[in-house]
Symmetry: C2
Subunit: 328 residues, 2 copies
């Protein structure tokens, strides 16, 4: 069962580029302005000029810090006092915990009781409360609903939320400020929050640039959904890109459709080969989900010959095998 | 048998800070000015303020590019035409190949025939010729001597060479230009070329800073040699820090002695733990040899409480296990 197929909330107001700009101002003190890097050897491998926006160097190691920060700092004082709540054992949970800690408000993160101890501890280290639940969708929804009722906290959805989307759009905004003349912008797609924000920022700042999503072929719900014009979940997504297993949300689907965003897919072997090449050539650690954008470029799944391509490198958090760090 | 215990050449002229400055000017177009990074969580872990000079982001992924470039570009035209020669299956071999390629002169690298194919290919990809020899010290010396006689090439020793040492010193020079008020500078020590250059630059730019070498306890020839006042090789060095297995050279020993450099040692478990922490917190890949400086700081093997500490992060080249990049 995919992690995010609960009944979606009704479609919310579509964020605009003005919302992205407001988010940028709101979160500037709380997030890093990450570097944009280039690599001559990756350019040769892809046959294009690549500009990587390094959100693996963002706070908590992922772009999720942007949307979470925008959500936390958008709250009115009385809302903030009741705190925030989410269900995510991944980067969004850690980012929300960190952002709430920066504002000094309560944060609860619902997590399946079988979540890796390291992920649980990361959230707790940021001062949030982990609320364990049985590892089923039903248990998660019930736990979340109960906590919302008990605490009056604000639920911050990882992607189906205009405030979160506006925050994620600040990454592409910075990229295009630094490299204005891009022909194409590509970002990985899981639930679609980052790609939606990327589309809004790119359409405003560089309207002639093509906008592409990069998706694992084993979790290609976004490609199917955009083709069908409705959400088509993948029942059992299978990919090493664990951050991209979520099903596209209704708000992202509406935004990506409106902007004519296209989706390219690649398999896990290509994702891991791209991750390795990126590690070796840049010495920067990226997680498998972050390698999907490079993978579609290396696989020529997007027409890019000679183009100037911006790619969002989404995060650098991954479970490294213990054996790597053990003495022989 | 350690890799570098052949009879050392007579001690050569000791390079001065003027030589480091000349090297900096000579190689500026051919090497990167690497960033200096900080990490609040690593500072907390070490109980000091740490400034990491990221030579893992240097060309060929290691500081060795500096010394090799200085050697290549110091050659007169007629010397250059005959090319350069070295014996190194590690970063120095790759760096010399790259530097020679930049100048367009021949480069030969003597390598044991059992060297990893990847290391051999790296050197060949830079346009150098790999000359295989039997994996013994005698075969290596004979092959090197034969090639020198046949080709008239200039031998560029990886560390026992004043020109190479002056080149390596440019890393500490850049670090101290960017962060002038360091209390202490630490660099890993293998053969001692980097630490010698670091000592020369630090003594000139920040004379009150303490200078430390960081060495694996399984290859602690530098610590023993400095204590004894003569070269004391470790017969069978055992450490994961493969770049630090070489025995200190006579010229580095003289330089480190003159500058009152001290050596701290750590075991492999501490080295790998430091490497892991650095990867996780900075998202930058470093090789085990590069983690030794952080390891001595985390282990409190150097007195640093509250100090401002500069550390040279020497390189980012390591053999990653294939399993990391294979689909389930």
């Amino acid at each position: 069962m995919p992690a995010d197929t609960q009944t979606p909330p009704p479609v919310q107001p579509v964020p605009t580029y003005a919302d992205v700009e407001a988010a940028a101002a709101r979160i500037a003190r709380y997030v890093h302005r990450t570097p944009v890097i280039t690599s001559a050897s990756l350019d040769r491998a892809a046959g294009a000029s690549l500009f990587f926006k390094c959100e693996n160097l963002q706070r908590v190691g992922a772009f999720k810090m942007r949307g979470a920060s925008n959500a936390v700092w958008s709250l009115a004082e009385d809302e903030a006092r009741r705190g925030v709540l989410t269900h995510s054992s991944g980067n969004h949970g850690a980012a929300l915990a960190r952002a709430a800690g920066q504002r000094g408000i309560p944060c609860r993160v619902v997590m399946p009781e079988n979540a890796p101890r390291a992920k649980r501890r990361a959230v707790e280290d940021f001062g949030a409360v982990v609320v364990p639940c049985a590892p089923t969708l039903q248990a998660r929804e019930e736990t979340t609903a109960r906590l919302l009722a008990e605490t009056g906290a604000v639920l911050v959805h990882p992607y189906n939320d205009p405030v979160v989307i506006a925050g994620q759009g600040t990454a592409a905004r910075e990229l295009l400020q630094e490299v204005p003349d891009l022909d194409l912008v590509v970002a990985p797609i899981g639930g679609g929050g980052l790609l939606s924000g990327t589309a809004i920022a790119t359409a405003a700042l560089q309207p002639r640039a093509a906008i592409w999503g990069a998706e694992p072929s084993g979790a290609d719900d976004a490609q199917r959904s955009l083709a069908a014009g409705r959400i088509v979940p993948v029942e059992s997504p299978r990919t090493v890109a664990d951050g991209l297993r979520a099903t596209i949300g209704p708000l992202p689907l509406a935004i990506l459709t409106a902007h004519g965003v296209r989706i390219a897919t690649v398999d896990d072997a290509a994702i891991l080969a791209a991750m390795r090449l990126f590690w070796e050539r840049t010495k920067l650690l990226i997680e498998p989900s972050a390698a999907v954008a490079l993978a579609v470029l290396l696989e020529r799944a997007i027409p890019t010959a000679g183009a100037r391509v911006g790619a969002i490198v989404t995060g650098g958090n991954l479970d490294l095998p213990e054996a790597l760090f053990q003495t022989g």
